[in-house]
Symmetry: C2
């Protein structure tokens, strides 16, 4: 039985709200409360939470709900979050440097351990505690010290090439910040991050209404 990708993508959200509940001292929550924290309250979603969780086991108690700590632990286990994941960043321009400086990865167990750039001016310089290395060395460095995830923050023109090289190095998961629709072979995970695409789909809805600004 294969589990739908949409379900997998909701699990981290569940984990996040559970962490919130835990930090507020809650010991037990209902699927209703989890659902309400995620979507507009009222709209059914409690059933979806229960159904999603039921793909993986029975974690709740009827008449009571879910033990927050226990369910959170289960989710972490399911998602593989109970370990450190090493990442390599390619591209240390403005965007890449911002990614290196982002404080949100480390607390969640994601650590950037290599930084690459093709610009000779950058190579050898310090970037967020790491020494920037030439992209020519990607294969060599990753062979010696493999990582789990690649982060691509190079210009659109070279992004697909970089992705191909990372895949060849055995990387099976890539976070792509470059504004291209990249392609990866079967078995490799690729998640695009492109704020512009989001903006462009929001304007569709905005356009329909009266424009607030000229």
């Amino acid at each position: 039985m294969s589990i739908p990708e949409v379900v997998i993508e909701r699990l981290p959200e569940y984990a996040r709200v559970l962490a919130q509940f835990e930090s507020r001292g809650r010991e037990v929550v209902s699927s209703q409360e989890i659902g309400d924290a995620l979507r507009r309250p009222g709209r059914t979603s409690a059933a979806q939470v229960r159904k999603d969780l039921s793909y993986f086991g029975r974690f709740g108690k009827q008449g009571r709900g879910y033990n927050v700590r226990k369910l959170l632990e289960e989710l972490r286990r399911i998602l593989g979050l109970n370990r450190q994941w090493k990442m390599a960043l390619v591209g240390t321009g403005r965007l890449g440097m911002a990614i290196l400086g982002y404080e949100g990865f480390e607390p969640q167990g994601f650590r950037i351990v290599h930084a690459f750039d093709s610009d000779n001016e950058m190579i050898g310089k310090d970037a967020g505690g790491l020494t920037v290395r030439s992209t020519d060395e990607i294969e060599k460095v990753l062979a010696r010290d493999p990582v789990d995830i690649g982060i691509v923050a190079v210009p659109a023109e070279t992004a697909q090439d970089v992705i191909n090289r990372l895949v060849k190095c055995g990387i099976r998961a890539i976070l792509n910040y470059a504004p291209i629709t990249a392609r990866v072979p079967e078995g490799v995970e690729l998640k695009p991050i492109d704020p512009v695409l989001h903006l462009q789909s929001m304007t569709y809805h905005l356009k329909a209404r009266a424009g607030s600004a000229a």
Copy 2:
């Protein structure tokens, strides 16, 4: 007839690949080629391209395909991309400054015209050409010079409050970089951007296989 949101979200991708085709001098493309540029070739998707476009009209010619320039123009019109959209950024910390410096917005017609922060140290300082103003002034500034879209880059704790205030100011579209599942009233668009959620769903798939790194 209401158009599915998934369809809307694919349109910007179509526009992007069309722009690529155009820059390469292509005058006509088939739905097959567009589909192949988006997903793994072979996997059907040409039909999806055609069906998505058919929600909005008939833009192609049988036996020939789509005129690249014309279709791109249509998509821009449909998405409302043939104008400038003004945005306000709240939060000028590390992440906010990186967003201000991102060169990808302007060429697509998105311009940040206001920057707000709650830190007194930041207020009055220059940030990417803009003067950072106090978050207390959000209402005043946006009343005088409204924007179409809000970008939220404040810490998780204050993000929902900021979003509520932006909504009260009449903003109908928000790009949320804060790691929370925010809620907005009916009729307001909210798109979350959280790389960590993507990482956490990718690790689900990685975990299944042999870990490459210890």
